[in-house]
């Protein structure tokens, strides 16, 4: 199958990546090339095969319910694009 321009726009919006009209057609062609490669998977029968999500079938560890993190917010916020009064600033979402 091949992606339409509308589908590419929808994927770009979901991924929150602006794709300009000038680059849209090239992006679409490259995504279609990659999907054609990926399509080769459909040739093999995987009926009844259990999906493998991870390299090791390990259980996630439990740890003691104790505070282990130090308060480092000043250090972390020092590298943020915009901060005021310990808060990260973003454009207004709710009027």
């Amino acid at each position: 199958m091949s992606l339409t321009p509308d589908q590419v726009a929808r994927i770009a919006h979901l991924a929150r990546i602006a794709v300009s009209p000038a680059e849209a057609e090239a992006v679409r062609a490259q995504l279609n090339g990659i999907l054609a490669l990926v399509e080769r998977m459909q040739a093999v029968d995987t009926e009844g095969v259990a999906p493998m999500a991870h390299a090791q079938d390990v259980m996630l560890r439990l740890r003691e319910d104790a505070v282990t993190e130090a308060d480092l917010h000043a250090r972390f916020q020092a590298i943020a694009p915009q901060v005021e009064g310990d808060l990260y600033l973003v454009p207004k979402v709710i009027e």
Binding site: I34, R61, P81, Y88
Partner: protein
């Protein structure tokens, strides 16, 4: 001194034949001379490096040296190092000064290793040629018109051109092994979970694994002894007793069964690579190993499955780059969503965007079963292939890459062609198996060829033993690109 093994550097430092400051200065000077042409390093900070070297000298003087104290090591710029710019090869993180150390970085720091600089790489480790770096491509020291491979291209170049005795790297689909092969150095990707991913910028979390690059298998063992180990901060870090990865270096090869997958030796491999790989197998046979043919029938599906799973995980992992907490933020935007969209359009390069878009698509409503679930099932088939093959052999050997290093620019506009070159390297990542590449000869244009060795889970020490035996019988790993030999200017 640029020829010295890590154990030789250790004894020279301990005997005060050289100081850590002198050693760091030697390599910093080599970097200063060679880096404008090779672009192996994104960040070098002489003052910081020399301060670490002085501390190492003091530690050696106190008689408190560990195995790597005073030895310069370069880190791939995917590992966060406190106070160092950590870019991951991206505009998104071009000004990111890490507020903390990755587990790997703190392990080397605790061991007393001296951080020599941060190595160039494909952006967010997505690439097989180091050409997707925002900081420009690294260049192959054997022929600067050729790529060094990727994504850990800078690390491989640094070791090959003797700009560093050793370097760290990461491997999601071949990013340690393929550049090691193309630059003529040794590199190992351990079993998934052996090296902590804490502080290692995430690409595809179920595949990403850190590992060392160096000039010999013996050096890799010493480095892995420092890098490996349980870390509670990585939820997939394995709790296993500490092991000495050098314990099998002198183990004889008599009776060791080498599996040659018939799928790897069919069409698709360049003749010069085939000749060097088969000569290496002959050499291993002379050392007592036996060859057997094995089958990995699902291997043709490994590239398609990888290019679903890795982008899917990447699209989730890279959602964190939103211009809010760290990294690049667009200067102009209309509202919050527009800020995200512009920030990400500006901060990410073309290949990263492609993989995020592919990943977003394969995870989106209505397509999940056809792509992501299908790929996970094929991942199971690939892992089962290996389990079956390891019933008949001890190691799987073959080429690391189908060709020697290709020319810069040759494939940069053709992602599918670039992806297909990962044919021999992605399957061990999907299965979580350890895999390494060692130099085994030269092909067209005098460019190095790598031999890939894949082992069963947790067989790193025996793989390193096989590689060490090979390197004692051959000198491919000791060859230096002529322009970078000692005395060459």
């Amino acid at each position: 001194m640029i020829e010295a093994s890590l154990s030789r550097l250790r004894s020279d430092l301990d005997a005060r034949r050289i100081s850590s400051v002198e050693l760091a200065t030697l390599f910093l000077d080599r970097i200063e001379r060679a880096n404008p042409a090779l672009n192996a390093f994104i960040t070098v900070d002489r003052d910081r490096t020399l301060a670490q070297a002085r501390a190492a000298d003091a530690r050696i003087a106190r008689g408190a040296a560990g195995p790597l104290t005073g030895i310069p090591v370069a880190h791939k710029d995917i590992f966060c190092a406190e106070g160092w710019r950590t870019t991951c090869g991206s505009r998104m993180l071009a000004n990111f000064i890490s507020p903390y150390d990755a587990h790997v970085v703190s392990r080397f720091g605790d061991a007393g290793a001296v951080l020599l600089g941060k190595c160039n790489m494909d952006e967010f480790a997505m690439g097989s040629s180091n050409e997707t770096s925002y900081f420009g491509p690294a260049r192959n020291p054997w022929d600067p018109a050729c790529v060094p491979g990727g994504s850990s291209g800078g690390s491989a170049v640094a070791v090959a051109a003797r700009l560093a005795p050793a370097a760290t790297a990461t491997d999601t689909g071949g990013s340690i092994r393929q550049p090691a092969a193309m630059c003529g150095v040794s590199g190992i990707k351990p079993t998934y979970g052996v090296v902590s991913r804490y502080g290692m910028v995430a690409y595809a979390s179920s595949l990403d694994q850190g590992g060392p690059m160096a000039r010999s298998a013996a050096d890799l063992a010493a480095l892995l002894n420092v890098m490996a180990g349980f870390d509670p901060r990585d939820s997939t870090s394995l709790e296993r007793p500490a092991e000495d990865y050098g314990r099998d270096l002198d183990r004889p090869l008599a009776g060791v069964r080498l599996g040659l997958p018939k799928e790897y030796f069919g069409a698709g491999m360049a003749e010069d690579v085939r000749a060097a790989v088969l000569a290496a197998v002959n050499e291993l046979e002379k050392l007592g190993a036996k060859r057997v043919e094995v089958e990995l029938p699902a291997s043709p599906l490994s590239v398609p499955a990888y290019y679903v799973i890795a982008p899917a995980e990447a699209s989730s992992n890279l959602a964190r780059f939103d211009g809010v907490r760290y990294g690049h933020r667009a200067a102009e935007y209309a509202d919050l969503v527009d800020m995200y969209c512009r920030t990400r359009a500006e901060g990410f390069g073309a290949e990263v965007k492609r993989r995020i878009l592919v990943g977003t698509y394969v995870l989106s409503h209505g397509y999940y079963d056809a792509y992501y679930l299908k790929a996970q099932k094929i991942r199971r088939l690939i892992a089962q292939d290996f389990v079956r093959a390891f019933g008949a052999c001890d190691f799987i050997v073959g080429p690391t890459s189908p060709t020697v290093a290709f020319r810069s620019g040759e494939k940069v506009d053709d992602p599918v062609r670039m992806y297909l070159d990962d044919i021999y390297t992605v399957a061990p990542n999907l299965a979580g198996l350890p895999a390494m590449s060692i130099p085994c000869g030269f092909g067209a244009g005098g460019l190095p060829v790598g031999l890939q060795v894949v082992g069963s889970y947790f067989s790193e020490s025996r793989m390193l033993g096989l590689a060490h035996r090979f390197q004692q019988a051959t000198d491919w790993h000791e060859r230096i690109p002529p322009a970078h030999a000692e005395g060459a200017r």
